[in-house]
Symmetry: C2
């Protein structure tokens, strides 16, 4: 369950070759391995839904939502060998990545 | 707990008057009321964390993460009176909103 005290790390990926099924599969496999970082409390690996309104961003290929119990746990994730391996082996697959890190508003 | 079958609706708000404490409070109150829409399974109301790297978007003022059991539940939310009330009473507070809707990648 999501609670307000959690650290929400949401990353959106735009592939360098969005038409490549191999690249989709490679990034998906990378994210599935990334999900094993022990400091992650919850995660969701997504693709754009079929909703489509003016305000909806639909041009990305993958959504990576990782939820941490704290800022410190998120910092551990950044330095985790599994995360470093993911970046080293998958970075060539994307042309753009945008991250939103959020903490409790109240 | 987040599971892969969920519909992830993540909205980022940029206030028209980001320096206004009153507007911050008004949007926060609006989101707290919005969270009572019955088709929402889980939610998180966030503000930007203190992380700051090139790829991190930090210029928004509020993050609204709503998790639904299905696309249909998300559609119900869009039409829910509480959601319509939120848009009607809070829309003047923001200058920009960006939505990412994601479903299971596998």
């Amino acid at each position: 369950m999501l609670t307000q005290d959690l650290f929400i790390h949401h990353v959106y990926f735009w592939l360098a070759n969005p038409e490549s099924k191999e690249d989709h599969a490679a990034l998906l496999a990378g994210l599935e391995a990334l999900a094993k970082v022990p400091s992650i409390q919850q995660f969701h690996i997504g693709v754009p839904a079929s909703t489509n309104r003016d305000v909806i961003e639909t041009t990305y290929q993958f959504s990576w939502l990782a939820v941490f119990p704290s800022r410190e746990a998120q910092d551990e994730y950044q330095d985790d060998p599994l995360h470093l391996h993911f970046v080293a082996t998958c970075k060539h697959l994307w042309k753009k990545v945008t991250v939103y890190d959020s903490i409790a508003a109240y």
